[in-house]
Amino acid sequence: MTGVVEAHDLSKWYGEVLGLNGFTASFGSGITGLVGPNGAGKSTLFKLLIGQLRSDKGEVRLLGEDPWNNVPLKRRLGYCPEHNQVWGWMTATRFVETLLRLDGLPAADARTKAAEALELVGLTKAKDRPLKTYSRGMRQRAKLAQALAHGPEVLILDEPLSGADPVGRVHILRTISRFAREGGHVLMSTHVLYEIERITENIVLIHNGKGIASGNLHAIRALIDQHPHAVRIATPQPREVAQALAGMDHVVAIEMPTADALIVRTRQPDAFYRELPEIVVEHRLDVRGLESPDDSLEAVFRYLVG
C-alpha cells in the first residue's frame, strides 16, 4: 500500500444498514474527487479515514497508517465535516484559534495562523462575528479554514461546496487548488460531478458502498457517455419533433409515452443540448420544456453498475 489513501475490501455496517461494502481503492497525490450519490458511502469512508469509525472488515490506510486511535496521524490531516455544525457561540477567529491550540500551537502562533487561514478563505471581514450569524456558505469556509490552518499534509473535505454561495465556491475551490499546488493532498467528496471537474481529473466513483470506477475524469466521462442519456421533451408536436431529431447520429432511441411528450435517448448529451436549439428553430418546432429524468448522478451510477 503506497497511495495517500489505500482501502482494501473495506466494509462498515450500521446495524443492518451497509455503509461500505468491500470498498477497494487507492487515491494518489494531488486532488482526488470521491463522487457518488447521497448515501453512497462517501462520509463513511471519510469517518474511517479520520478514525471516527472503525472498519468491520478490510483495511484502510491514510498516509500509510491505520487511522483508528492514531493520535500522531491527526497532525498530518485536516478534516472538514459534512455537517455544518460548529460552536456557534464562538467567533470564526476563536474557532480556528481554539483548534490550533488543541493542535499544540502556542497562543501567538495560533492567532497568526488563524488570521492567515481565515484570510485565505475570504473571511477576514467577518472573522470576529459569532459563527451562529454565518450563512451556510460562510460556515463551509470557516470549516475549511480550521482544516488547513495547521498545515496538514492531507485535506479530507466532505462535501465542502454544499450550500456554498457562488463567491464562497470560488474561494473554496481556489483554496483547495492552491493547497494542492503547494504539495498537499486533497480528498474531496461530492455528489455533483461537475463541481469537481473544475479542479481535478482524478475521481473515484462510489455507489452503494462500493468503488465502481476510478481514474481519469475523461475516461469515466467516456464510460458514462457510452450509456444513453434520456431527455424528456414536452411538446404538442411529438411526431414532428421526433422526425427532426431522428437525423441526429448520436440519438439511439425515441419514445412517445404521452401525446404531449417524447423521450429521446442520446449517447452524446453535450452534443444533443448544443444542436437542439438550432434544429428547433430550423424546423419551427414548438418545444415547451426539457428535462432529463436520469440526469442525476444516481441514474448514471445505475447505468454503470448495470
Binding site: N69, R75, W89, T98, L99, R101, L102, D103
Partner: protein, 246 residues
C-alpha cells in the same frame, strides 16, 4: 480543551440559568435576613442547606454541566473537530472534566460562601466564628462536584439519554437511599457527603447521622469514586465509535 470547556460552560447563555440556580443558597439566606427571621442562625443555615444545597442544587448543577460534556459534542456533530486533533480520546475526556470542575466550582462556591457570610453577619458574628461549617460545606461541594461530575460524565459517555438517567440517579436514588437499612446507603454519594459534614462540623443537624465512616475516609471514597468513574469514562470513550446524526 479545559479552557474551551470553561468558556462554554461559563460564557454561553446557559450560564444565566445555572448561576441563578447556584445562587439559591444566597437568595435564601438573604431572604431570611431581610425578613428578620429570629431563628435564623448557623444551625438553621445547616438545616436548610443540607437538603437544599446538597440534595438539589449540587446535584442539578453537576448533572446539567457534566452530562453534556461529551454527549453534546456527539449530538451536535462537533465531535469531529476534537477527534481530528492530536489529542488522545482519554485526554479529551480528562481535560473536559477538568474544565467542568473549574466551571462548576466557580458557579457553586461563591454563593455558598456569601450565604454563610450573610448568616454570620445577620447574627452579628465574625466570619470565622463557625469556620467548621464553612469548611465542611466547601469540602462537600468540591468532592461532591468531583464525584457527581465523574458519575454523570460516565453515564453520558455510555448512554444516549444521560439526563434522564442522571435525574433518576441524582434525585431518586440519592434521595431514597438514606432510608434503606443496612449498608445500601454506602452505594451513594450523598452518604459520604453527609459523613464529611458530620465529621467536620461540631454541632449541626447531621450530628446524629448514622455513619461509621469518618470524614477522612468519606473524602477518600469520594476521590476514589471520582477517579474510578473518570477512568471508566475515558476507557469507554477510547473504545467507542461515534456516528454523526443524519
Amino acid at each position: 480543551m479545559t479552557a474551551l470547556t470553561v468558556r462554554y460552560l461559563l460564557t454561553t447563555r446557559r450560564v444565566i440559568a445555572m448561576a441563578l440556580f447556584a445562587a439559591v443558597p444566597l437568595l435564601l439566606a438573604g431572604s431570611l435576613a431581610l425578613a428578620r427571621v429570629p431563628t435564623f442562625d448557623i444551625l438553621l443555615f445547616q438545616v436548610l442547606m443540607v437538603p437544599l444545597f446538597l440534595q438539589v442544587v449540587l446535584i442539578f448543577v453537576t448533572l446539567v454541566n457534566a452530562a453534556p460534556l461529551i454527549r453534546e459534542e456527539i449530538e451536535d456533530n462537533t465531535l469531529p473537530y476534537l477527534l481530528t486533533r492530536p489529542i488522545g480520546k482519554p485526554a479529551i475526556v480528562a481535560w473536559k472534566y477538568a474544565g467542568y470542575l473549574v466551571a462548576v466550582l466557580v458557579l457553586l462556591v461563591p454563593p455558598l460562601v456569601l450565604a454563610y457570610g450573610v448568616t454570620e453577619a445577620y447574627g452579628g458574628l465574625a466570619l470565622g466564628t463557625d469556620s467548621d461549617v464553612l469548611a465542611g460545606f466547601l469540602v462537600a461541594t468540591v468532592l461532591g462536584s468531583a464525584a457527581y461530575g465523574a458519575l454523570f460524565l460516565f453515564i453520558s459517555v455510555v448512554l444516549r439519554k444521560p439526563l434522564a438517567v442522571g435525574l433518576l440517579v441524582g434525585f431518586v436514588w440519592e434521595s431514597i437511599v438514606g432510608s434503606i437499612p443496612g449498608n445500601v446507603p454506602k452505594f451513594s454519594v450523598i452518604y459520604y457527603l453527609r459523613s464529611i459534614l458530620k465529621g467536620m462540623i461540631d454541632v449541626g443537624p447531621l450530628s446524629g447521622f448514622p455513619t461509621d465512616v469518618s470524614a477522612g475516609v468519606a473524602a477518600g471514597v469520594l476521590v476514589g469514586l471520582s477517579v474510578a468513574f473518570l477512568v471508566a469514562a475515558m476507557a469507554v470513550f477510547q473504545r467507542n465509535e461515534f456516528r454523526q446524526k443524519a
